[in-house]
C-alpha cells in the first residue's frame, strides 16, 4: 500500500462529509434551531428529506465505485465501468420497463433493472470474448454497442409511454437524487448492500483474477465461476441503486483510479477505500447540485463535466503503461 495514512483518511471521510451535508440546502441551518431544540419543519427537512437523500447518495457513490473497481479487475481492464460496459443503460431500461408495464408495484423496478443490467453485462462480455480472453479494446467496443442498444430500447419506452410517466422515465436517463426518500432507500439497500458485501469479502481474490484467465487458473482459481460471481454481485448492487437514482455516469470509472493513485492497486485496500471515497465524492457533488443555483442540476451533468477532464489527464499520464 502506498500510504496507510491516506487509507484511513479516505476510509473515515464519509462521516464529516455526511454531517456537513446535512446543513446544506435551501432552508438555512441557523433557522432550524429554536432555542436548543429542532422545530417541527426543521426536523422534517433534516430527517425526512436531507438524511435519506444523503444516505442514498452515499450508497450510490460507494456502489458504483466498488462495482467499477471490481469490473476493472475481473476484466483486467482499467477503462471499464458500469456505464462503459452498458450495465447502467441496461438497468435503466429495465427500471423504465417496469415503470411502464407495472406502474403500481415499485419492488419490480430493481428486479427488472437487475435482469436487464445483467443481460447487458453478459452480452458485452460474450461479444468481447475472443480466443478465450478479453482484450482491452474489444471490451470497450462491446460496451459501446451494448450501451447503444439499451439506450435505443429506453427511447422506445419513452416514446410509447404517456406524458405523465414520461417524466419519471426521463429521470433514469439523467440521474438524480431529488426524488430520494426513505422508501427509495429501502428499495435500493437490500440489493446493493448484498452485492457490496460479497465484493467486499471477495476483494483479495480480484487481484488474482486480474492476472488473466490462464494464470488465475494456474493458481487454482475456478475463473469462470468466480468471474460470474463478481459480475452478478456488481450488477445486483448497481441495478438496485440505478433503480432509484437513474444513470450516474463516470463515478464508477474515475473513483477507482483516484483511489488507486492514493492507496495503491491491491484490491484488499482499494475496494474499501473506493467505497468510502465514492460515497464522499457523490454526496459532495449532490450538495453542489442542490445548492449552486436556484434550480437543481441533474447530477450526471456535473459528474461528467468534472470527470471527463480528469479522465483525459489520466489517459495522457498513464495510458501508455496499460497499453
Amino acid at each position: 500500500m502506498l500510504s496507510k495514512r491516506n487509507y484511513y483518511l479516505i476510509l473515515f471521510s464519509p462521516i464529516p462529509v455526511i454531517l456537513v451535508s446535512l446543513g446544506v440546502g435551501r432552508y438555512p441551518l441557523h433557522l432550524m434551531f429554536k432555542s436548543f431544540s429542532l422545530g417541527e419543519t426543521a426536523s422534517f427537512i433534516l430527517f425526512n428529506i436531507r438524511l435519506p437523500r444523503i444516505l442514498l447518495c452515499a450508497l450510490a457513490g460507494a456502489t458504483l465505485s466498488v462495482a467499477g473497481a471490481s469490473l476493472q479487475s475481473t476484466l483486467r481492464n482499467p477503462l471499464v465501468s458500469p456505464y462503459i460496459l452498458g450495465l447502467s443503460q441496461g438497468a435503466a431500461f429495465g427500471a423504465a420497463l417496469a415503470m411502464l408495464l407495472l406502474p403500481y408495484s415499485s419492488y419490480m423496478i430493481p428486479i427488472l433493472a437487475f435482469i436487464f443490467g445483467f443481460s447487458a453485462v453478459i452480452l458485452a462480455c460474450s461479444l468481447a470474448r475472443i480466443r478465450g480472453g478479453f482484450s482491452t479494446v474489444t471490451v470497450i467496443l462491446a460496451g459501446v454497442i451494448v450501451a447503444a442498444i439499451f439506450t435505443a430500447l429506453l427511447s422506445i419506452v419513452k416514446f410509447i409511454s404517456d406524458p405523465y410517466r414520461l417524466s419519471g422515465i426521463v429521470f433514469w436517463t439523467m440521474g438524480g437524487f431529488y426524488k430520494a426518500s426513505w422508501d427509495y432507500l429501502l428499495l435500493a439497500a437490500p440489493g446493493s448492500v448484498t452485492g457490496l458485501t460479497i465484493l467486499f469479502f471477495l476483494r483479495w481474490r480480484l487481484n488474482v483474477l486480474s492476472m488473466g484467465d490462464e494464470e488465475a487458473k494456474l493458481m487454482g482459481v475456478n475463473v469462470y465461476r468466480e468471474r460470474l460471481l463478481v459480475l452478478i454481485s456488481a450488477t445486483l448492487a448497481c441495478a438496485s441503486v440505478i433503480s432509484v437514482s437513474g444513470i450516474v455516469a463516470w463515478v464508477g470509472l474515475i473513483v477507482p483510479h483516484i483511489v488507486r493513485s492514493l492507496v495503491g492497486s491491491d484490491n484488499k485496500y482499494l475496494i474499501p477505500a473506493s467505497a468510502a471515497f465514492g460515497a464522499s465524492i457523490l454526496v459532495l457533488t449532490d450538495d453542489l447540485c442542490r445548492s449552486l443555483f436556484s434550480f437543481e442540476i441533474p447530477i450526471s451533468i456535473v459528474t461528467t463535466l468534472v470527470a471527463a477532464p480528469y479522465f483525459i489527464y489520466l489517459l495522457r499520464k498513464v495510458g501508455g503503461e496499460w497499453r
Binding site: 483479495w204 487481484n207 494456474l218 493458481m219 487454482g220 475463473v223 492497486s265 491491491d266
Partner: protein, 260 residues
C-alpha cells in the same frame, strides 16, 4: 515413481491441424526435465495441457497417479505451479503482492493471505536475491526482474511440480545461471519435479537430468543430458551442430552454413 505421466496426448487448437501428435512423457520426483525444440513445435501447448488450461483431444495426463480430468483447478494448483511463457501486466501491484498470490490455492474464496504469508513471500524474494524489489510496482521493473518475481510466485505455491515455460527468457547470463541453479537445487532438496522449456542446448545440458527433444508435436527422443549429441539436435532443428569437449565440459555449437 513418476509424478507426471503424459500418455499419447494429441491436441489441436482447431480441427485443421494437430499441434501435439501422440506425446509420451514422464517426470519423476527430484528430476529436472527440459523440453527442447524449435519454435512452434508444441512445447507451450504441452505444458498448458498438463496444467489443464487445454484439454487433449486424445490421451491422458496423470499427476501423482490421478487423471487430471478428475481433479479441480484448485487440487491441481496445490501440486503444480508454473510460469507461463508470456505475462501481460495489468495494474501496478507491488512485487510482494504478486508473489503472495501464490498462496491462492490454499485460501478460501473469501479470505486473504496472512501476515505470515507475506513474510514467507519476502523470504522467497530474498532467496532469489531480489528482496529490495518487494515494495516496487511490478509494472515498473525490468523484464528479467519480473521473470524472477513470477518464479517467486510459483515457489510461493509450495509445489511438488513446477512447469516453467522459458524461465530464462529476459534474463542476463548471470541471472540465467542463478535461476537455473536455484531450480536445480530446489529439485534436489525439496524433491521437486521440474518440467521446463529452454532454447539453449547448453543450458539444458548443464541443468537438466533429462532432455526431451520435440519436433512438430512429437517427442523425437528422451535422453539423459550426457547423451545429447550434435546428430540428435540436427535431426530436430534441421541444421548441423558441433560438439566441443573441454575436459568434461561439453558445449554444443551451431555450425553456420550461411555466410553474409
Amino acid at each position: 515413481m513418476a509424478l507426471i505421466v503424459v500418455k499419447d496426448v494429441h491436441f489441436a487448437y482447431d480441427d485443421s491441424k494437430f499441434v501435439l501428435r501422440g506425446v509420451n512423457l514422464e517426470v519423476k520426483l527430484g528430476e529436472v526435465v527440459t523440453l527442447l525444440g524449435p519454435n512452434g513445435s508444441g512445447k507451450t501447448t504441452l505444458l498448458r495441457c498438463i496444467y489443464k488450461v487445454l484439454k487433449p483431444r486424445i490421451g491422458c495426463i496423470y499427476i501423482d497417479g490421478k487423471n487430471i480430468l478428475d481433479l479441480t483447478s484448485r487440487e491441481i494448483a496445490k501440486v503444480i505451479s508454473g510460469v507461463p511463457q508470456e505475462h501481460e501486466t495489468t495494474f501496478p501491484y507491488r512485487v510482494i503482492d504478486v508473489v503472495v498470490m501464490g498462496k491462492t490455492p490454499f485460501l478460501d474464496l473469501f479470505s486473504a493471505p496472512s501476515i505470515k504469508d507475506y513474510k514467507v513471500a519476502k523470504n522467497i524474494l530474498e532467496k532469489l536475491g531480489k528482496a529490495e524489489l518487494a515494495e516496487r510496482p511490478y509494472t515498473q521493473i525490468s523484464g528479467g526482474e519480473r521473470q524472477l518475481v513470477l518464479i517467486a510466485r510459483a515457489l510461493m505455491q509450495n509445489p511438488r511440480v513446477m512447469l516453467l515455460d522459458e524461465p530464462t527468457k529476459h534474463l542476463d547470463i548471470v541471472n540465467k545461471m542463478k535461476v537455473l541453479s536455484i531450480i536445480k537445487k530446489l529439485a534436489v532438496e525439496k524433491r521437486l519435479a521440474v518440467l521446463m522449456t529452454l532454447h539453449d542446448p547448453n543450458e539444458a545440458i548443464m541443468f537438466s537430468d533429462k532432455i526431451v527433444l520435440v519436433k512438430e508435436g512429437k517427442v523425437i527422443c528422451s535422453i539423459s543430458s550426457e547423451e545429447l549429441t550434435a546428430e540428435s539436435l540436427e535431426k530436430v532443428y534441421g541444421m548441423p551442430f558441433r560438439l566441443v569437449k573441454d575436459g568434461n565440459v561439453k558445449t554444443i555449437l551451431p555450425v553456420l552454413e550461411y555466410t553474409v
